[in-house]
């Protein structure tokens, strides 16, 4: 049964690829959406079966066939559903289905072949993503990992006639390539060191070992995998592709660049939690990189004027949170945040898409404003998403973010907590800056086009329903991890826990509660109050700056021009990368590799061989006189010489 979960979207992809151009739009959209719905249905059935098993050893395994068999090296094509995968497939198929439905309306202006192409890519993405989260070994994960990268490239550059979109696609692909090199090196090293690529066997081999005190092979594997994760999940230093990826259609940003693909790196660490737990130094690196990314990206989110770019930086920042959680060993908290983030960030992107749709492509916050009256559904759902991401008590983001902040503090890294808390404040500010600029205040259309936009219409039904469902999810998803402090069971953490321990230990996990954690509810309470206060303060501050005194931000910008320029220009990171990496590599490629190595050495060798043959031919051609007698004479002379040699020898 498991195989059908990725196979159904693949089927949708094949239908839309083969017959796409000839199908009417309604059918190609329906095929893609139904494929996702069916995959979601199968996922629910499978997860229900999983839940019926005993908690320690929950897993469903299906081996389709032996993919590679070479002596001792055996790679079976095995899918394994465990609690971590279960959560991921529900997110991918569930939210994926909603985004497919939304896309049927959002992409309606495309021609039929383009429409089918869009949906075939979207289905293909779902196939690879499901393969990624279901694969039982590194190689299957890698296939999915590369596949989603490909689909990301195709969908960012969906409007390939636009040079900026084509460039953004290439940028995403190339930046990811850097991480992927590290990733595959890590996989190879893991194989060399442990002789297996199967996640469970790897964890089983690591289980009895003590965590590495010094930086050894295990740490190196973990570090390489983490570098791979920074590429896919847009962390420092490889985050630069994600803001540019907003060139793609907005539902794509919601599905790939917010809810699912970019969380693959977090999933990778969660999947190899045992490995990372054995490399404490690398875990610290993960935590620090996560925290720095969270605050760094949050800063740029404060000043961006493109509605989607604000959300993109917000995504990078929230992914930083997830890595922070992974880094302090709170794997369940990180995955929990991944889960809630998928809801509210998909919602925010889809809401932004509804705004862009209503305004006929306008993405600049400076030319929005006052949309609250014309787009009530979009406004209210967007508000829910913003409240959830800001961490307002009672909504999804509150539970997951506070779990992360609390676990960070409890792990003894107070300064990481401080960074996280500061990011939390910034999150509230930039999100509500966006809400206030887009939906409140007076309407600020671009000069000439004001009259046309006098009457805007809200999201059509196919867009409104996903928005409402996701808004409900943004409110309710957090209760899956309702903390014990409030009398909840933190169900999701108990559900996920077996995925993060070595197989032998998982069975004995039954009944052992986190005793040390239970003791400090009072600390947790204090931290929760602090971060709730920060969230509300951030919203209040945004209200002051962008509603009450709209002139203040401009005055602040004038007061600190260097800081403002630094932030608006995204820290000049793209420029620095361009100067220090891209241009040297380009110059190296052009002057040394192309004009030096390729033209001189390689072409020289090839042409040299040709020249030698030509010259030799020219020299020996004179032997071919065309005179029959000359040939006969040489035959005679040869015969005489040979006979003479044998006679006089």
């Amino acid at each position: 049964m498991l195989i059908w979960i990725p196979l159904l979207p693949l089927l949708g992809f094949l239908i839309n690829t083969v017959a796409g151009g000839r199908l009417p739009k309604s059918i190609s959209g329906a095929v893609a959406s139904l494929a996702m719905l069916a995959a979601f249905g199968v996922s629910v059935v499978e997860v229900a079966a999983l839940l019926n098993q005993a908690r320690g050893g929950r897993e469903l395994v299906q081996t389709i066939y032996t993919w590679i068999a070479s002596g001792d090296f055996q790679i079976p094509l095995t899918l394994r559903l465990d609690p971590l995968s279960a959560l991921m497939i529900l997110v991918v198929t569930g939210i994926g289905f909603l985004i497919h439905v939304y896309s049927t309306a959002y992409m309606h202006d495309e021609t039929a072949p383009e429409y089918a192409r869009y949906f075939s890519y979207l289905n293909l993405f779902a196939f690879f993503m499901l393969l990624l989260v279901l694969g039982a070994n590194f190689l299957i994960l890698f296939v999915g990992w590369e596949g989603v990268g490909l689909c990301s490239y195709l969908l960012i550059g969906f409007w390939y006639q636009k040079p900026s979109a084509a460039d953004a696609g290439k940028k995403a692909f190339i930046v990811n390539r850097i991480g992927d090199v590290a990733f595959i090196l890590g996989v190879l090293l893991a194989f060399v060191r442990f002789g297996t690529l199967d996640f469970q066997r790897l964890a089983g081999a690591l289980g009895p070992m003590a965590p590495e005190a010094a930086f050894g092979a295990v740490s190196l594997i973990a570090l390489l995998l983490f570098i791979g994760a920074t590429g896919k999940s847009a962390q420092i230093p490889l985050y630069v592709w994600l803001p540019d990826a907003m060139e793609g259609p907005t539902p794509v940003s919601a599905l790939i660049h917010a809810a699912t693909m970019v969380t693959a790196g977090v999933y990778l660490i969660g999947r190899n939690a045992v490995l990372f737990s054995h490399a404490p130094e690398v875990l610290l690196i993960v935590a620090v990189v996560g925290a720095l990314t969270a605050v760094w990206a949050g800063l740029f989110g404060l000043v961006q004027t493109d509605i989607k770019r604000v959300l993109a930086y917000s995504t990078v920042s929230q992914l930083g949170y997830m890595f922070l959680a992974m880094g302090v060993g709170a794997y369940a908290a990180g995955i929990f945040h991944l889960f809630t983030h998928a809801f509210f960030k998909a919602l925010l992107f889809l809401g932004a898409g509804a705004v862009i749709h209503a305004l006929a492509g306008e993405q600049d916050l400076r030319y929005m404003g006052g949309l609250r009256r014309d787009l009530p559904i979009t406004y209210w759902t967007f508000l829910m998403g913003s409240l959830a991401i800001a961490g307002v008590p009672g909504l999804a983001g509150f539970f997951s973010k506070d779990e992360i902040l609390y676990r960070t503090f409890a792990s003894g890294h107070a300064w990481l907590w401080l960074i996280g808390a500061a990011t939390s404040l910034m999150t509230a500010i930039y999100m509500f800056r966006l809400v206030f600029l887009a939906f409140h205040g007076p309407r600020r259309a671009r000069g000439s086009e004001a009259p046309q936009h006098a009457h805007l219409h809200d999201a059509p039904r196919a867009m409104a329903i996903p928005l409402v469902v996701l808004a409900l999810g943004s409110i309710l998803a957090g209760y899956a991890g309702f903390p014990e402090m409030f009398g909840g069971a933190n169900w999701i953490e108990h559900f996920l826990e077996p995925s993060f321990t070595a197989p032998a230990l998982a069975e004995s996990l039954e009944g052992t509660e986190a005793a040390g954690v239970a003791a400090s509810h009072s600390l947790e309470m204090v931290l929760v109050i602090v971060s709730s206060f920060l969230a509300l303060a951030g919203i209040g501050l945004a209200a002051q700056l962008y509603l009450k005194h709209p002139g203040v931000p401009a005055r602040l910008a004038a007061r600190f021009p260097w800081l403002y320029r630094f932030l608006v220009n995204k820290g000049y990171v793209d420029e620095i990368y361009d100067e220090t990496l891209v241009q040297p590599i380009r110059s190296l490629s052009e002057n040394v590799l192309w004009k030096g190595l390729d033209t001189r050495v390689i072409d020289g060798a090839v042409n040299g061989v040709g020249t030698i043959v030509v010259e030799t031919g020219a020299a020996v051609r004179h032997l071919q006189t065309g005179s029959m007698r000359a040939y006969a004479l040489s035959v005679l002379l040869g015969a005489v010489l040979m006979v003479g040699y044998y006679l006089w020898r």
Binding site: V620, R621, Q624, T625, G626, S627, M628, R629, A632
Partner: protein
């Protein structure tokens, strides 16, 4: 009584005449005839060796040579006729188109 050496000397002389014919005559048909002379010189030595060693092997080989020579003569003459139709001459020095 003629000894083996007599036969071999005769064979050598005939062979040399054949070689001289090939190199000195300027008529393709004569050259072909000279080649036949060379072949027969060799046949003679085969027969002589066979006779003086009391073996039939020499004669067997000669039959093969005669067969091949017949085929060669047929093909060779056909070629010569064909060439003559093209260029109206039998001088071998006229055929130099294959010069490199």
């Amino acid at each position: 009584m003629a000894s083996l050496n007599h036969y071999l000397i005769l064979s050598g002389v005939i062979f040399t005449i054949g070689v001289a014919g090939v190199f000195l005559r300027r008529n393709l048909i004569t050259i072909l005839l000279s080649i036949e002379v060379m072949l027969n010189a060799v046949n003679l030595s085969f027969i002589a060796f066979g006779h003086f060693q009391g073996s039939a092997d020499g004669q067997i080989i000669v039959f093969f040579v005669i067969t091949v020579a017949a085929a060669e003569a047929a093909v060779g003459l056909a070629l010569v006729i064909s060439l003559f139709r093209h260029v109206e001459t039998l001088n071998p020095d006229a055929f130099r188109q294959l010069r490199g």
